[in-house]
């Protein structure tokens, strides 16, 4: 069984990763909360004190400042973080200006939420390391989940190649990974298994705990209620799920 802590912090996991999130709206708050839950240090920045107060307990530091002020950003220790997520919603001009400031400050990774095609184009030109369109990306995921209800999630790793999270097709349920012949028959690889394990909590009530096995053993048997994570070419993944 393999467990991992994406943010490190364990004796073998190295130093805790540090992130800054600028913008405490719905998207920024969600990013900050998830990073904190994963054990990362998170600095959350916004110019709205009320928004920050609501999220203060969830992050390492909640700082009220104007992120277009380079000196204030530097004083907040932003140059020390592993990555900055810029989540300013519809404030396009501010988002562009702050992206430029962050790149000039030498931030290793700047991830910016874009709100339009024009915004996206400008961000690519000024050196944003990653640009996300949350609404568009979620729209594509929802549409794909409607067309392919067995796909729970997917990530495009390269054009035409995806990692999908899906229920196991009927013909491999009850078989070991070796017997499923995913690679030789379908040309795809099952890279992880998610399984719910029954436990009792401190109050003696039942609870299901998710266990994730990364690179499962060839003898691991696939159960009906498992979730499998599979990598491969898009057309071969579609064939595998049939």
């Amino acid at each position: 069984m393999v467990y991992f802590s994406p943010c490190g912090g364990s004796p073998r996991g190295g130093p805790v990763k540090q992130f800054a999130v600028i913008g405490a709206g719905r998207f920024g708050a969600s990013v900050a909360k998830t990073l904190s839950e994963q054990g990362c240090d998170v600095i959350l920045i916004d110019n709205n004190a009320e928004r920050l107060r609501a999220l203060d307990d969830l992050v390492t530091q909640a700082i009220e400042l104007d992120a277009t002020d380079e000196k204030a950003l530097a004083a907040a220790g932003i140059a020390e973080v592993d990555a900055v997520v810029l989540a300013l919603g519809r404030r396009m001009e501010e988002s562009i200006l702050i992206t430029m400031l962050l790149k000039e400050m030498g931030i290793k990774q700047v991830i910016v939420k874009a709100t339009s095609e024009a915004h996206y184009k400008i961000l690519t030109r000024i050196g944003a390391d990653r640009i996300v369109f949350p609404e568009r990306e979620m729209g594509v995921k929802v549409a794909n989940s409607l067309i392919n209800p067995t796909i729970l999630d997917y990530i495009e790793v390269a054009p035409g190649y995806n990692i999908i999270e899906t229920r196991p097709p009927e013909d491999i349920v009850g078989k070991s990974l070796e017997e499923s012949k995913a690679r030789s028959r379908y040309g795809v690889d099952i890279i992880a298994l998610k399984r719910m394990k029954p436990v009792l909590d401190a109050a003696g009530d039942s609870r299901l705990e998710e266990e994730v096995t990364i690179v499962p053993h060839a003898h691991e048997v696939i159960n009906e209620n498992d979730t499998i994570i599979v990598i491969g070419r898009e057309d071969l993944l579609a064939e595998f799920r049939r």
């Binding site: 436990v199 009530d205 039942s206 009906e224 209620n225």
Partner: protein, 101 residues
């Protein structure tokens, strides 16, 4: 063969516990931990038939339905647990998670 034997053992335990809600609840939890989720549902359902105000039985029933991949049934059980005990944190948490998916 082994599954048949386990089923027979479960039925014997069920008939011994048939008039004791607490024993049925414990039997359901034991079946749940053994990943015998259908048996767990059966034990909790019988427990509820004897003790319809047992919030814990409804909550545990919901978790067993979840394990069987039946979110609607799970949802109904968690709602019932909360109707009986509005402060049942685990049932509220489970409902929130179900709503998120």
């Amino acid at each position: 063969m082994a599954a048949g034997k386990n089923k027979a053992q479960f039925s014997a335990k069920m008939s011994r516990a048939s008039k004791e809600p607490a024993a049925l609840l414990a039997l359901g939890k034991s079946a749940f931990l053994s990943e015998c989720y259908a048996e767990a549902v059966e034990a909790y359902t019988r427990c509820i038939a004897l003790d319809p105000r047992n919030a814990a039985a409804y909550y545990n029933l919901g978790v067993a339905w979840q394990a069987l991949g039946k979110p609607r049934e799970a949802n109904r059980a968690f709602v019932k647990a909360l109707e009986i005990d509005p402060k049942h944190k685990a049932a509220q948490h489970a409902l929130n998670l179900l709503a998120a998916y």
